[in-house]
Each structure stands twice: as structure tokens, then as C-alpha cells.
Symmetry: C2
Subunit: 420 residues, 2 copies
């Protein structure tokens, strides 16, 4: 493994992200399990890309079958993109019935930002000050990890993100309104600066912000503010989408609002690089007529076959209901965990967080140690939030009650051994 | 087919690009052949994505095998990306020995621009005024198809592209120096405006510009100008790369200059969405330390398996030599074609152009009719150049002498029937 690390540094350069102080060499995946080079298995409670389970045989078969018949671009006509897109858009309400395919969620978000600009004729864009929407230059401007060379462009405004330890407006109850007021201030700034307001990009469950107090109705005041200003709501469903929230296929339907544009990514092809933008027809037309967009690999027959197989498996294996039922069961168990640093345990469907705090401040280092200890105990977890102090659990969708029990029992054993 | 077109418009919206007045419905691909829904076969002389031939069984088998074992991200260690990257970078000189993987050429170019900015601490970027480097917001700024909402950003300068009908400097001989002078002027403007000069992005064979008078040494004066100004040369090898030019693996080696960054895309995975940036270590480090770049799908084991299989096939089937030999044979035949509107016939390896002009002006409409007639005669061709007046031929690399003969015989029959 040290050999692999040295080869990575030599080949890939410095600062290439890995998980864990001593990264895992993973060689095989199956369902909710990942296996390392020693044959040890890990319960994957983190990777949402393998949405229907690692190496699901139906997805693999669909890819292999289509790859052997045809893989080309969409400048020729093909049934695959149509059959898939018609089926996918049928899962949306709010006139969200047109699709543009890309290869990555980053590309999808990059397009969504331009849709807002094309629709409004304005350039100003808003995101929260604790988020991540991808890695292209344009969407990296929305993220707060590192400032771009030359600084943030003036048409980008970052608004205070919802927070659980220090809620906007002073309380979780006041937070939805306070968040909307932040958005209203940013819109006023964009309008005063001459950029105008094109749109706001949000993950509807605020996954990277740690889902602080999120639930149905949370965004209602914000949606009203955005609508009144004539801007678009760009909903990044890369994390909540495809049924993860359990009660609904999409996070925005769980929260109960109507976006103008939805972006999809990670889970869509179970690892195959495929992503999409779903939009109302007038928004799609504004973009399509303003930009001559073409994406060579996007919407190719193999990507569509992979993505169709993912829909097949979600439906045939009842994975949305599974997310709801097992999710509720797991959340119940997680809420029984006791530790002095647990500030909150929350979740919806198969997306959970345990927030660690000490004296009302993020227990960053503690949370990091939990993640490392979990790895040593055979559990893969992540972390999230402003202080990277919230355990993030987002397992493949076939996660079972037995998996949930193992997760919670293992976490319990770990927490018992970790003094506050 | 009209049903498919109607469904496309309903699902995908307006202005989604297709080839041909009556687009083809392609259902199967094999080697250099594509098959439509009626079973008719077409000799594919255009699609460079299927670099080693449509649906090459070794690439399909590699994808299927790896997809059934593991497909996850690079935050875990895996042999696949290392074995592939070491093998790929070994094909480069000029200290171009580090790799960053992406899913698309657009993403690769988007990263390359930031590498230049990170390395120089400046923002100014240059491209030609008749090019295309991809579809993200940042790289679309380099393209000249449609201006972005809010106009082109001031740190982008477009320089006059080389041209064959109206060469810069008045002659093909003067063009390399004249092009370099345009670059020098743009650099001076960027420096005067305070943006400074970060880099220039070029396709080394100027594929989208129609390869006007390009050959070894063409970029020498430009390289000197860029070096003197302290900027980076970002070489977009999406079209010439992986041996297409026949004499070399990469277009920049064919031209004989040393880029700082090379981007790879379309042919790399034979249709699987995989792309990469190759850079000198100090350039990679500057980028990696300035940006926290991570790309979920990029460099996954399946993408690396697909890309490795492409290298296997290129090597085992001798496809670079094939491009040189069959390319020279085909170019010889193409140069025997006679028509009053043929202004020039040129090419290198398996990349050819026939330029049509009338009274020294692009014969745009004529070239369009040739492409349509070729389709009806079972040949897939494209077109390129400022006036879309240059037939573009860029077939899969296993193109044979018999394929070349068919191409030229069919073109000859078409041209004989088309009055000037």
C-alpha cells in the first residue's frame, strides 16, 4: 500500500484527496460491501454512487450488452436516450419534463447556472457559504473551499448557510425565514451592482451543510423571495435524488417546492459517468437557443442503458420504500446512541448525520477519530458540515435492517471507548 | 424516424444538434462500420471517439470485467489508475509525466486553463477566433460559437486563426510568424489590461480551423513568444492524440514543440467517458495546491480498464503505423480527385481535409451538399473550417486500404455528379 501511495504521488502529484489517515486499497465491491486487498470486507455506509449496490449485476449486464452493440454520440438518433429520458422525466412534477444529459454532476451544474442566465438575461448567482456543487471553474466559484486565482467573480454571492449549532436567526424555528432574508440581501446586492439576479443553486436537503434542521417547508420563504425577484431555483439533487430521502424520488418534493431546474449526478448510473439536467421547457429553450451545447459522451447508448438499469433496479427491488423503511429503522437505532458529544442525530431515508459538539462548538477532531475508528472496525463513514464535525452516512440503497443494526452496534462500541 | 425526431424535440428541447438534414438512426457499430435501423451500413470516416473501432471486443470485455468487480472513486487506492497512468505518461516527453483524470475533454480543458492560472498567478487566456475546446462555461469562453450572457470576460483574448484561403501575413509561408505576432499582440493587451498572461490553448494541428498549412515547425514562433512572456502552452490533443497523426502519438510531437499541459479526450476510452490532463510536475503541483480538485467518476477502475484496453489495441494491432501507412495511401488517392471547387487536399495520418472554394471564398453550401450526398452513398463525413467548407475525414484507426479506396471512389462518383 505504501508503494501505491508513492506511485500516486509520483504520477498524480501532491494534494490528491484520499480517505483516511492510512487510505484503503479497495479491490472489489458487491452490494453494500467493499473489500480491501487483504480480503477484509467493509460495510459501505458512505458511497451513494453505487446507488443500487456495488457492481449490481443488472447494471453490469446492461453496460456490457450495450457496449458490444453501439456506443456513439447523440448527433445520430437513438432510442436509448428517448426511452430513458421519457421514463426519468415522468418521475418529476412541476413541468420539469425536459432533459439535457452530461457526464458529471459538475457539468450538469455548470449548465444549470447558464440556464438561469439564459432565462433571465442576468448573470448574478447565489449559493451558500458552506457548500460544494462541483469542480468546473464556474461551479467551483460557488464553492467555498479555496478562492480562485484572481478572486471570486463579482456576480457570485454566497449567503450564510443554515447551521445547526448556530442557527440563522437564533433558533432552528427562525432559520428558514432568516435564510430567506440572507438570500434577499444577496439579491439586492446583485441588483445594485448591475449584475442582476439569475438564480440560486441549492441542495434541497443541504447535504454538505449537514442537513441542519431541514424538512418540509424549510425553503418556502426562500422560494418566495427568489420568485418575487424573478430568479430561478436550481436544485442540485446529486445527493438526495433517486429516492434516497425515502418518502419521495427527489429532495425538492420532500421539502415541497417547485424548482426551475434540477441537476442529477452521482447515483444516476451506479458509477458509470452519467448525469443530467431536468428543466421546464421554457428554461431549456432559453438555454438551448442561447448556447450551442453539445457533449460528446453525454447521452450515449451505454450511459442510457446503465441509467435505465438503475431505474429498473430501484423499481423492481423497491429501493425507495426500502430507504424509507430501513431508514426509519436505522434512524431509530442511531438515536439511541449515547455519548456526551452527540449534539443531534438526524436523517431522512438513507441519509443520516450524527453531529458532535463540545460546548456548542464543532467537535471536529473527535468526529475525525470516529471515522478512523469506524474504518478499523469495518465501517465506511464520511463527515460533513462547517466543522467537518457531523458523521455522514449515505449507504447504497439496498441497505438492510441487518446492515443498519451492524452500523449502530459498531458505532456504539466505538463511542463507548472514546472519552469525551 | 420522424417519430424519434418528434420525441427528441419534446424531451430534449429545441436546437439539439444532429448530423444531416434527415438524421440517421444508428443502431449498431462494428469496426469502421455503423448500421442504421434499416440494416444499411455506413463507412464511418468521421467518428474519432471509436478510436480503435466501434465496439472493439477487447474494450467491451475490459469494461464488462472491471464493472463486475469494482467501480468506485479515487479516494481509495487502486492499481488501475496507476498502471494506466504510468503507461500513458511514458508515451510523453518534455517532463509531461503527471496525470489528472476527468470524464470529458471539456473538463480536462477547464482544468488546464486553471493550471496556467495557478502556475503564473495571472488570469489572461488566449485561443484562436475560430475554435472549440468544449462546453463548460470557462472553456466555452474560448469558443466563438455564441457569446455568453453578459459578454466575453475581459481576461479572454481571441487571436486571428490560421487560415488557408486567406493566410495570415498574406501567404502560407508567412503564416506561422504572422500567427505568432497576433499572439504577441494579445499578450501585450492582457498585460496592459492588468489581467496578465497565463496561457494559450491550442489544438496543435488546428483541427477545428481546418489544419490550414499546419506541419512541423508551424508553432515554433508562437512557442517562443509565449515562453518569452512567461505563459503556458496548453495543448488540446483531443483530436490529434493517440496516434491519429500517424508519425507520432501526439500532435505536439508531430509539430515538434514542448507543451506545458496536454489534454486528452474523445478517443481515450473508445466511447467510455474518460479524459485526462497531462502536465509537468511543477504545473500539476501549482494546480493541486491552489485548488482542491476532486472528480467523483474520474479515474475509476472501469474508466481505467477501458482506457488501458484502448492502449492495448493501439499497440497490439499496430494502429499508429496503420494510421501512417493507410493515411499516406488514402491521402495519395484523395489528391487524385479532381473538381473545379477543390482548392486543397491535405492531411496527416488518418486526418484529412478537402477544401472547397469558389473564387477564393469558402464553398460552404457545396461542401454541405457533398456531406449529404456522401451519407446517401454510405459514407459518414464531417466538415470544418471558418466557412464549414472543408470536408473533414477522421475515421476509426483500423481504417484499411480497402476502406480508403471505397472512400475515394465514392467521393469521386459524388463529385463527378456535382457541377461547380
Amino acid at each position: 500500500m505504501s508503494d501505491l501511495l508513492a506511485r500516486r504521488t509520483r504520477l498524480l502529484g501532491p494534494n490528491v484527496p484520499t480517505f483516511y489517515e492510512r487510505p484503503l486499497q479497495i479491490v472489489r465491491g458487491e452490494g453494500v460491501w467493499l473489500f480491501d486487498d487483504t480480503g477484509r470486507r467493509y460495510l459501505d455506509c458512505y458511497n451513494n454512487v453505487a446507488h443500487v449496490g456495488h457492481c449490481h449485476p443488472r447494471v453490469v449486464a446492461a453496460i456490457a450488452a450495450q457496449a458490444s452493440v453501439l456506443n456513439t454520440h447523440t448527433r445520430y438518433l437513438h432510442e436509448g436516450i428517448l426511452t430513458y429520458g421519457e421514463r426519468l422525466t415522468a418521475k418529476f412534477s412541476h413541468d420539469l419534463n425536459q432533459m439535457l444529459m452530461t457526464c458529471t454532476g459538475s457539468e450538469a451544474n455548470d449548465v444549470a447556472l447558464r440556464m438561469a442566465q439564459a432565462m433571465t438575461g442576468k448573470t448574478g448567482l447565489i449559493a451558500t457559504d458552506n457548500t460544494y456543487h462541483g469542480n468546473t471553474t464556474a461551479v467551483a466559484h460557488l464553492s467555498t473551499r479555496r478562492p480562485p486565482i484572481g478572486g471570486y467573480p463579482p456576480h457570485i454571492r454566497r449567503v450564510p448557510a443554515p447551521d445547526s449549532l448556530a442557527p440563522l436567526g437564533g433558533s432552528l424555528a427562525a432559520q428558514p425565514q432568516a435564510f430567506a432574508e440572507g438570500v434577499a440581501r444577496a439579491i439586492a446586492e446583485l441588483e445594485a451592482s448591475g449584475h442582476g439576479f439569475a438564480g440560486i443553486m441549492l441542495c434541497p436537503i443541504f447535504a454538505n451543510e449537514g442537513t441542519p434542521g431541514i424538512g418540509p417547508g424549510f425553503l418556502d420563504p426562500t422560494v418566495e423571495v427568489v420568485r418575487r425577484a424573478g430568479g430561478l431555483i436550481l436544485c442540485d439533487e446529486v445527493q438526495p435524488g433517486f429516492g434516497r430521502v425515502g418518502t419521495h424520488w427527489w429532495g425538492h418534493d420532500f421539502l415541497g417546492f417547485a424548482p426551475d431546474v434540477v441537476t442529477l449526478g452521482k447515483p444516476m448510473g451506479n458509477g458509470h459517468p452519467v448525469a443530467a439536467v431536468i428543466a421546464r421547457p421554457e428554461v431549456m429553450a432559453a438555454f438551448r437557443n442561447a448556447f450551442g451545447y453539445f457533449n460528446t459522451f453525454a447521452g450515449n447508448p451505454v450511459s442510457c442503458a446503465a441509467a435505465s438499469a438503475v431505474l429498473d433496479v430501484i423499481e423492481d427491488e423497491g429501493l425507495v420504500e426500502n430507504a424509507r423503511e430501513v431508514g426509519a429503522y436505522a434512524l431509530g437505532l442511531l438515536r439511541e446512541l449515547r455519548h456526551p458529544l452527540i449534539a443531534d442525530t438526524r436523517g431522512f431515508g438513507l441519509f443520516f448525520g450524527i453531529e458532535f459538539a463540545r460546548d456548542g462548538q464543532p467537535a471536529t477532531e473527535f468526529c475525525g477519530r470516529v471515522v478512523e475508528a469506524a474504518k478499523d472496525a469495518g465501517l465506511l463513514l464520511g463527515r460533513v458540515g462547517r466543522g467537518q464535525h457531523i458523521l455522514k452516512m449515505r449507504p447504497p440503497m439496498p441497505f438492510s435492517r441487518a446492515n443498519a443494526a451492524q452500523l449502530v452496534e459498531t458505532l456504539d462500541a466505538i463511542l463507548r471507548k472514546m472519552p469525551a
